[in-house]
C-alpha cells in the first residue's frame, strides 16, 4: 500500500463528494420554491464542492505549480461568490422576488420600515425648522 495509492483513493472520494454536491445543487435549484432557497442550494457546489474537487485534482496531479493555480481558483471563488450572492439577493429583495410567507424571520423589512419612519420624522422636523427660519426672517425684515 503505497503513498500514491492512498492519494488516488482519497482523490476519488473527494471527487465523488464534489460531484454529489453539484448534483444536489441541481436538484435544489429546480425544486426549491423561491429565489433565496435556490441561492441557498446553489451555494453548495460553488464553494465546498469546488474545494473538494480541486483538492482531488491536486492529489491526482501531485505537482506544486498545479496546486498553486488551484489555490488561486479557490481564492477567487471565495472572494467573488459572496459578493455575487449579496448582489443577487439584494436585487431580488428590491424587486419583490422574495416570498415573505416562506421567511421565518425578516429583519431587513422591519429595519427598512424603521429607517423610513425615522427619515420621515427627520424630514418633517427639518421642514418645520426651515419654515420657522423663514418666518423669523420675514418678521425681522418687516
Amino acid at each position: 500500500m503505497s503513498w500514491t495509492l492512498v492519494a488516488d483513493v482519497v482523490a476519488a472520494i473527494f471527487l465523488l463528494c464534489g460531484a454529489f454536491l453539484a448534483f444536489a445543487a441541481g436538484v435544489g435549484v429546480v425544486r426549491f420554491p423561491d429565489l433565496l432557497a435556490r441561492m441557498h442550494a446553489a451555494t453548495k457546489p460553488q464553494v465546498l464542492g469546488l474545494i473538494l474537487v480541486l483538492i482531488a485534482l491536486g492529489l491526482r496531479l501531485r505537482s506544486w505549480s498545479a496546486v498553486g493555480m488551484l489555490v488561486l481558483v479557490v481564492i477567487f471563488q471565495l472572494m467573488t461568490s459572496p459578493v455575487a450572492a449579496h448582489m443577487v439577493g439584494r436585487a431580488g429583495y428590491r424587486t419583490g422576488k422574495v416570498r415573505p410567507d416562506l421567511l421565518v424571520l425578516d429583519d431587513l423589512t422591519a429595519d427598512q420600515e424603521a429607517a423610513d419612519r425615522e427619515k420621515d420624522v427627520a424630514d418633517r422636523e427639518a421642514a418645520a425648522r426651515a419654515e420657522d427660519a423663514e418666518g423669523d426672517g420675514g418678521t425681522r425684515r418687516g
Binding site: 454529489f20 445543487a25 436585487a91
Partner: protein, 151 residues
C-alpha cells in the same frame, strides 16, 4: 478510477441538465443567473474531473478564467437586468411575435405616409414642412424606444 469518474460524470451531467431546466423555466432573470452559476460551477467540476482522470495540467487556467467570468456575469445581471417589465420573463409564442411584427409594420407604413404627404403638399412652403417633421420626430421615438429597451 474509471468507475468513480463515470459516476462523477453522470452526477455532473444531471446537475448541468437540471441547472439548464431552471434557466429555461426561471420566472425571473435572477433565477436564471443562479442556474447559470450552478452550470458554470458544474463546468469547472467537469474540467477538473477530466484533468484528474488524465493527469493533465493544461486545462487548469480554464478553471481560473471560469471562476472569474461567472462572477462578472452574475453581478452584471443583478446590477443592470434584474428589473424587468411585467410579462417579460417568459418566451413569446409565434402568434404573439407575428402580431407584434404586423403592428410594427403598420405603424411604420403609417409614418411613411405621414412623412410623404406633407412633402408633396408643401413644396412651396418649406417652413410648414419643417414644422411637420419636428412634430413627427417625438412619435418616432415613442414607438421605437420601448422595443429597444426590451431587447
Amino acid at each position: 478510477m474509471i468507475v468513480v469518474v463515470l459516476i462523477c460524470a453522470v452526477l455532473l451531467a444531471s446537475a448541468a441538465t437540471l441547472a439548464v431546466v431552471r434557466a429555461e423555466k426561471g420566472p425571473s432573470m435572477l433565477d436564471r443567473t443562479i442556474a447559470l452559476d450552478v452550470f458554470t460551477t458544474t463546468l469547472v467540476g467537469t474540467i477538473a474531473l477530466e484533468a484528474a482522470w488524465s493527469r493533465r495540467t493544461e486545462t487548469i487556467p480554464i478553471l481560473v478564467v471560469l471562476s472569474l467570468v461567472g462572477f462578472v456575469g452574475s453581478v452584471t445581471i443583478a446590477r443592470f437586468a434584474s428589473v424587468e417589465p411585467e410579462g417579460e420573463g417568459r418566451i413569446k409564442t409565434r402568434e404573439e411575435i407575428a402580431a407584434e411584427e404586423a403592428e410594427r409594420l403598420a405603424a411604420e407604413e403609417g409614418e411613411q405616409e405621414k412623412a410623404v404627404d406633407p412633402e408633396h403638399g408643401a413644396e412651396h412652403e418649406p417652413d410648414a414642412l419643417h414644422e411637420v417633421e419636428e412634430a413627427a420626430a417625438p412619435e418616432v421615438d415613442g414607438t421605437t424606444g420601448p422595443e429597444e429597451a426590451r431587447s
